[in-house]
Amino acid sequence: MNKITSLLALMLSWSVLPVAIAETYTPGQKVNKNFSQLAKPFLATHCADCHGETEPEGNLSLHNLGPVDEVNVGIWQAVWAQVTLKEMPPKDEDQPKVVERLQFSDWIVGELSRVMRDKGGFHAHLDPNKGNFVDHDLLFGKLPDNIKLAPTSSPARIWRVTPQEHITRLNELINREPDFDPSKPGLRTHGDTVPTNHGGELKLYFGTDRIIRWQGGTVAYATAVKSVPVVLSSARDHGLENYPDFYTVNSAESTQILGTAADIIRYMANGPLSIAKPYQITDDPRSIADKMKGDIRGLPTSLVYSTKVMRPLTPVYDLMHEEGNSDERLQAAVNYLFEALTFRPPSQKESNEYLTVVKQSIEKLGKKDGAVLGLSSIFLDRDALFRPELVEKGKPDQQGRVMLQDWELGLAVNHALRYIKPDKELRKAIVEGRMRSKADVKREIERMLADDSIRKPRILRFFREYFDYDRGGYICKDSKALADTGASNRGTSHYRAMFDATASTDRLIELILQEDRDVLKQLLTTDKVIATRSDNVYFGKQRSKKEILASVAGAKKAAAEAAKKKAAELEAWKKANPGKKPPKSKKQNKRRQPNVNHKVSQAKLKGPKIYARVSRRSFGNGSMKPERILATVPEDQRLGILSHPSWLVSHSDAMDNHAILRGRWVRERLLGGGIPDVPITVDAMLPDEPHNTLRDRMRVTRKTYCWTCHQKMDPLGLPFEMYNHAGLYRELELNKPVNTTGEIIDSGDPKLDGKVANAIEMIRKLAESKRTEQVFVRHAFRFWMGRNETLNDAPVLQDAYHAYKDSGGSMKALLVSLLTSDAFLYRTRKDPALFEEN
């Protein structure tokens, strides 16, 4: 854009903008302006000078950028991100007024939504990774007078259940989990989620609680036992994974669910007899020794089941074990399954519809097969796979909001904390019409939060998704690179250690939640760790070459001295017993001799016994074990969860640390900053230079084009270079002192900004920050509301933050505040006006 044009445009903008600024702005309301009225003058005023026709900055010319259309959506999306995040105009240029920027941003979103409507839609602004695009200071600070907020609510919606929820729901039908034991609070109990197994796979296991013997060891058991993998999928592995608008259920998943349903119903009816021969069910395995001869490892017939009935005996059992198939029995089975799968009783119409389906199947196939097939259909009911919040009944208020009530409200409250159906009290409250008000919700939430025996896996799920500490076992490590860290690269031991570490971190978080004081600060700065034996290595220190040589030499010397001592003892014995043959020395079991790991100065973790939640027996004798210790981390080397291998390895790759990912995590999850998507023109590769440090190789990100974004991430991730990519503490990298410095910039809190010597210093600073706590609250909002916050949610967020702060950092207080807010209680059926056609 040449100067004259720019000037003209500028003059035009002067004529338009004052009008815009004078208006009252309400977030979410349609911007009643077209390209010429709003966008064009904005571009001319704030963008044209640098992104003009000739030699534009960043090689991006906005000179000819017209109204949003199919061709230029990419450019408009980039403009939206840059302007919304206040990256543009540059800080040293004149800035648009607050409302001007908000309107421009809303207008772009509205236009992108309109243009993309038939092409898959525009969803970027709804993605949790873009949640921070809403200005933090506007959410928690004072708003300009011309911004008027509207009462908030969430959209009416259906919310597909998560893979964890689904498998836990199905597990309830065939397995009875133990009741909560206050003396062993970490053990998996009824209401906890079904954990992933030894290999990180989420599976439903059949009859493992009755298996008392099997042939073979680990793999043989894993092959012989009946299990089905989770069917529903989740495409995300970092950040919040399950907003309501993410997923549907495809036909492949539906057909699998139908198959699994038949297996479950048969097991409900017949227990292990549905998967084993009658002789396999005995409390005396010796009595069937004749049938267990030979090598039958890996076969289902290699298992022996106890006679004790462990599964719940339900109306499905009654139906299948009684003569005939009366309507009463059939209906009881239908109703039971419906509520077990949807968490609410069926309406009479629904009950009758499924009864008809079951009867038709029985008519065709007879009772045994027909009932199984017919009942399977309930597993595919909409409400068994999608949780509805539709507010179809109820009168809208002036803003078109309807409060959830009865079953929808009860199930929303239940879902906020639980994966299994409402407990008796909540169910009673729903049925008796006592789930209709904010006070009702508060009463039930507080009751459930106060009762440890009511397990609340969804809270832990939030912390997994917020911290992303559960990915370590899924990061495929290069074998040599792993060995270089000092961690074992034998077999699957590292991956097993990482899945154990995830369970340990789960438990540590629960301990901090139990205290419920300064929860975020504690998580960031705790000196505690839940540990297995292998954590002595992972929480150890990687040795230098010199230390390794010294360790090897020391071991050799010790061995030589031991041999010498032994020889001297033998000589002495011979002298004392002339002519006699010396006794044979005890055979040493070589396999039991621990391998000395010279590469690591192991931590000496000690402490009381504690339990972590692990899968049912999935790998025979090699299954995950719940026993752990509660220990204190080595001083000055670790501080809080971000310094634990579970988090560090989750943010690493096959060969090295992932400083960018770590930095991004800190920027987004603690500082509330937003990072625009990587431009497609960027070749995001670090050079392959094995003799250079990661910091050196990251020099490519310091090119001007990349640095604009990377300066917000890299200096926050590099302080974690004090750990290697298996999470071991180190002082050297490539035999030189490791550089662990970093810097916090543009945090939004001037007290935070500045250089840091290492991760520990950085974490200490961040843990003291009010902003960090507010950002934590924002993430909790997103998780529990299932959507990104808007400016209209500012009061909800502020209330939640104050509830947290005023209670001394109580997660419970934060939850009560969020779950009794309008954003949680109200739904709006109408689509947001923002996306109406301009």
Binding site: A220, D245, D295, K364
Partner: protein, 439 residues
């Protein structure tokens, strides 16, 4: 919205357990699709490893023609098909952790292990997507001990449509027959088919009714769920209209299905069904898991009393047990080729447009680091692959390079498969297909 192609792919990914998926022969829909030559690919994954000595002709140590060579005893059944055969030694799978089994990593070219979910899609699924359309792009069958096939008729260990998205293989031939040929079945299978059809129709109705009052964005998303049933049911109805065609290809249900004497009766029946799915044009990709990707399996029908893990602890060369298993595999390969050769296609036969990839999910042996991953290819895939030769590679390139080659042969312009640049620096010094196997 799901389009038809998507639906078929997704249906293939989950032709799971109990679904009566509806399928329409390829040539019956060909008129509405492109003129591309129909192609098909078969992956035959024998577990416990594939020792190169059991397939490389004696004395052959460098790449050469097979024309004058005599195939070793375990694969001698392939002797008449030498001109279609390409024996490849010297690929590697060091990055797949193949000891005991790489599981999904064998066809995915990434780390796999017991209990480890797939980290990306596998090559068979990717090929099924890009090969000319069929109604059921991908079918997986798994052969195991009779106890395992009965108790766990579907499992997922080898194929995947994406990260965390396993594809199930079928091991009960009665269920699979019903799924593929329920519309032309009789007796009990017919009743099952009818009951299932009715059930799916009812589910579709109930599902659709609950979608009517949803907000518009949710309705669109939920409609994909409903449409899955619509498509399944719609295709089944259409399939019923072409039952005469299917009847020509469907195997006969006999006592092997209902009263198997040995597990090999079911293995044979499953193979018959797989072949029928190919020859009738129902599918373009068949994955066969002999031993179902795990470290067990049984072949008592061949007179082998030992089973499972012990088989993997034996040296394979000159081992009478392994000779029997490999010969059985070879006879199965011959059966596939004979069947495909018997069906005219274009100016030749179906086999002319086919490639069979025979290998193991365990590389060369059970306890292996994957330094050598032998493979046999049968068929030239419409002239895109070299045949009639033995190729000795230098163990530098990974199985991913083979999969890249197959994608290239299927017309895809790719340089790598499931291998990013970072991994490639360590595990693949080159890019693109294996020039040694491409014509």
């Amino acid at each position: 919205m799901l389009n038809r192609r998507n639906m078929l792919q997704k249906m293939a990914a989950g032709v799971g357990a109990a679904c009566t998926s509806s399928l329409l022969p390829q040539h019956l829909v060909a008129s509405s699709t492109s003129n591309t030559t129909p192609k098909r690919v078969i992956f035959f994954m024998q577990n416990q490893g594939f020792d190169p000595k059991t397939c490389i002709p004696e004395g052959m140590s460098s790449s050469s023609s097979l024309a004058k060579a005599k195939l070793p005893e375990p694969i001698k059944a392939l002797e008449p098909y030498k001109e279609r055969l390409h024996i490849i030694s010297g690929l590697h799978g060091m990055h797949t952790s193949p000891s005991h089994s790489a599981f999904f990593g064998a066809l995915g070219g990434y780390r796999g292990s017991d209990g480890v979910p797939p980290s990306a899609s596998t090559i068979d699924y990717e090929l099924s997507k890009v090969l000319p359309k069929t109604l059921l792009p991908h079918l997986c069958i798994g052969m195991d001990s009779i106890e395992n096939m009965t108790t766990k008729p579907t499992i997922a260990t080898l194929s995947a449509s994406g990260a965390g998205q396993p594809i199930f293989m079928h091991s009960n031939p009665n269920h699979l027959y019903q799924m593929l040929f329920g519309g032309i079945s009789t007796g009990d299978i017919r009743l099952q088919h009818e009951a299932r059809s009715n059930l799916l129709n009812q589910i579709e109705k109930l599902a659709a009714a609950k979608g009517q009052s949803l907000p518009s964005a949710d309705r669109q998303r939920y409609n994909q769920y409903v449409q899955g049933f619509e498509n399944v049911n719609g295709l089944r109805d259409r399939l019923d209209t072409v039952s005469d065609h299917l009847r020509k290809f469907a195997p006969k249900v006999d006592e092997r299905y209902t009263k198997p004497e040995f597990e090999t009766d079911w293995h044979d029946a499953l193979l018959d069904l797989g072949i029928s799915a190919l020859t009738s044009g129902i599918t373009n990709t068949l994955t066969i898991g002999s031993g179902r990707g795990e470290i067990f399996g049984a072949w008592k029908g061949l007179g082998i009393e030992q089973q499972g893990h012990n088989l993997g602890h034996m040296e394979q060369p000159d081992n009478p047990i392994w000779i029997k298993i490999r010969q059985y595999n070879s006879r199965m390969l011959v059966r596939i080729m004979e069947a495909l050769e018997s069906v005219p296609e274009g100016s030749g036969t179906m086999m002319d447009n086919t490639v069979i990839v025979y290998t193991s999910n365990n590389a060369d042996k059970q306890h292996t680091n994957g330094a050598n991953w032998p493979v046999m290819l049968l068929g030239n895939f419409d002239g895109t692959l070299k045949t009639g030769c033995f190729t000795q590679l230098n163990r530098k390139r990974p199985i991913n390079a083979l999969y890249t080659s197959l994608l290239r042969a299927a017309g895809q312009n790719v340089d790598r498969f499931n291998m990013n640049d970072k991994l490639a620096r360590k595990y693949d010094p080159a890019t693109g297909p294996l020039k040694e196997i491409m014509t």
